[in-house]
Symmetry: C2
């Protein structure tokens, strides 16, 4: 059977033509696509070690060209990680890559140096303040290097603000389905943390949360609410978390909630009926990624908190490290421009459309796979479809699926079309059928 | 007197023609260059708020075009921050900006996803291992988002490894001229830290270091050695630090030295007679920036440590957060390619030349300014020239000088030519002369 190769189900002649020649190197496509890179590591490694007086520009060009082909191919056959791999049209932005752009420090302080993109950063931050319902004068935020940095910052503020209210440090509560970075950070910060059980769908087990809160009523609570867990795409119920905190005797001043909304923070606001992530609720911060739903080329994100908290930190800051209240200090100035560009091109209407389409496509795939009797589930409002891990490692590798134990998942982002899902589905099914046949005949 | 406008001392007609029109907006050039941005913040902020079904592409293009002009201008008149603002020729790399590239996690583990540039990262890391004299099999490293992340990582490893050897936590020692991020991190990690006095040139006061070490002989020492302090460009004497540690009874196993070589880590290895930063010495880690001496467009850096230390951390990692031993998790894949590209284009010979040229130029400017009787100093092997802070704020703003108290500095990086230095010098002197005249006539 001839393999359909690209998203539009047309053969890619150049790749087919190169099949034979590349078989040893990778990107083979006949009845299976093999994903080993075509770029030779030895050739790449030689680059910087070139000690001639004139660099071998042809060699550099060849490597980059080969790498682009690999990247293009691997981006096309990808379903497992929460990154929108839509190929960006950034010709307008290319000239800016010739410049170093750095938004070091606080975005709200006018810096001395001119090579910053602070104006774009402020434009982006104001926009997020609007979708997360906080007044321009009441928020503080910055563009991070991604979700992990957002978590670094959220736990920092959470720890400082919650500890201020009472004598004694706060305790961190996060479900076992929380992103691994949260526990890494808790260890680095030497915070006491309590792992809350998760339900089977990946959501926090609220009764376990209540039990564990009651064991530590004397200490402030810092809570991570997952707005889309990494593996199962589960959304912790923010309203219920707040209700439980109140019921357990925690006033708003004695808890801090950091919303890790890496994937869904840019999607939920565009569905009227979806759970609401908003600073009108007593939360402390929201972190979202800019490369996940929005598809920026570099890892980046927004971390937003209340200005009053930052003022609190700034007192500390002034004596020892000036006006920097960020984690990373020097910050990627291009990221602010790419974020601004993508938001400006899409606008709310574009994001609404993307969000709607993704949910439809995720539901479409869920239907296909359930129709075959394969165990599968998807949380409401989530783009993550979880199903039985394929027995065939090759399909996992080929489609770059993410797996955990007996489960695999795909993330249906704006670049994932129904055609791609159908192609993957057929391959998944044909693998299962051939294995069943083998088992029956053996 | 007619103002000379660009690096080649030729008028820039387009800028002059636009003078009148831009006077209100910024980038004015007649007898002074004023640095307010020409891009209208309101216009930028409107971008993402555009709720039309089709984005206003013309408006986006206009903004980006105006911004590029500002950036180009501001990069041309810049002397104060440690960033090589040479305009990069990255046409080869532009197509890659259409793709999301992510080197999440450990560079030495082959990831599941294809949209990574791990091969380039390994090429870069191997090169640094060679210049810092550590065997390929003995190092562990990764490409960071910049010097601050390197410090986050260095202190993490330092803390874990030093605490392992003895019961009780290590104490951090860093001079008062150390980058502010180090003290921020120490507070975040809740490490005990001791600020060591600095000498007048910015170097660590070694006698004060000895005194403070002897007060805490029972606890392991984590020491930050500055290979170029932020403001005065001073290089802490690594050999002397090690000697003092030994003399105070600290065996190699009871201390950990993190070298913050943000600016000079890429320059010193190319001067035969310069102080040697090398893993042949009992140091724990080296961190260098990729956007400072090397001029990558985005903040980035290399953090390198000994593999044996990472293996130690990895035991912890496996249970809780898999194989990630980095700070940031998701990591900028383009940074690896830009680093690789710049190293491949320059090679060691290019870096040697750059380094030589920068030292010559720094010395040239030092000569000019001392010739005028202005207080000025420069540390050996350093690109930072420190001098009396100009009384005139306009010149500080125009040339984007960095100031601390009564001092200002410039950093003579590869993009800073003798012509530019001369232009700045004349302006500095003419400002002083006119003020002197004003004082005399009043």
């Amino acid at each position: 059977m001839e393999q359909q190769l690209n998203e539009n189900h047309q053969k890619v002649p150049s790749l087919v033509a190169e099949n034979h020649q590349q078989k040893k190197k990778g990107i083979v496509e006949n009845d299976r696509i093999i994903s080993i890179s075509v770029v030779d590591q030895k050739m790449i490694s030689k680059g910087p070690f070139n000690n001639f007086t004139t660099p071998n520009k042809d060699c550099i060009e060849t490597i980059l060209h080969e790498y682009e082909k690999t990247l293009s191919h691997r981006s096309r056959y990808h379903l497992g990680y929460p990154v929108n791999l839509s190929k960006g049209n950034y010709a307008n932005l290319d000239p800016l890559m010739s410049f170093h752009i750095n938004n070091c420090g606080d975005p709200f302080t006018d810096p001395h140096w001119g090579f910053n993109s602070r104006q774009f950063e402020l434009g982006v931050l104001d926009w997020f303040a609007q979708i997360w319902e906080i007044n321009k004068d009441d928020y503080w935020a910055y563009i991070t290097n991604g979700g992990t940095e957002g978590n670094f910052h959220g736990l920092w503020i959470g720890f400082v603000t919650s500890s201020r209210e009472l004598l004694g440090d706060g305790i961190l509560y996060a479900s076992q389905d929380t992103h691994y970075s949260v526990f890494k950070i808790a260890k680095l910060y030497r915070m006491e943390y309590v792992v809350v059980e998760s339900s089977i769908n990946g959501e926090m087990d609220y009764e376990d949360f209540r039990r564990k809160l009651l064991l530590n009523k004397d200490k402030p609570a810092i809570v991570v609410a997952n707005i889309g867990t990494t593996f199962k795409g589960a959304i912790d119920d923010l309203d219920l978390i707040i209700e439980i905190l109140h019921e357990c005797g925690f006033s708003n001043k004695r808890f801090y909630i950091h919303c890790d909304a890496a994937l869904l923070g840019l999607m939920l606001p565009f569905n009227k009926h979806a759970p609401k992530i908003s600073f009108k609720k007593p939360i402390g911060s929201i972190s979202v990624s800019g490369h996940k739903f929005l598809g920026c080329p570099m890892p980046c994100g927004i971390q937003m908190t209340r200005k009053s908290y930052i003022d609190l930190i700034s007192q500390d800051v002034e004596v020892i490290y000036s006006k920097d209240a960020t984690i990373s200090g020097s910050r990627n100035g291009h990221a602010a421009i790419y974020l601004w560009h993508n938001l400006s091109i899409k606008g709310k209407i574009g994001l609404e459309k993307d969000s709607q389409k993704c949910l439809e496509n995720a539901s479409y795939f869920e239907g296909l796979i359930k129709g075959e009797g394969i165990v599968c589930f998807r949380n409401e409002w989530s783009l993550v479809v979880v199903f039985e891990r394929p027995k065939d490692d090759e399909i996992i590798h080929q489609w770059q699926l993410s797996c955990e134990g007996d489960l695999a998942h795909i993330v249906v982002l704006p670049n994932v079309t129904q055609e791609k899902l159908t192609e993957f589905f057929h391959q998944l099914i044909s693998g299962r059928t051939s294995r069943t046949n083998m088992t029956q005949s053996s």
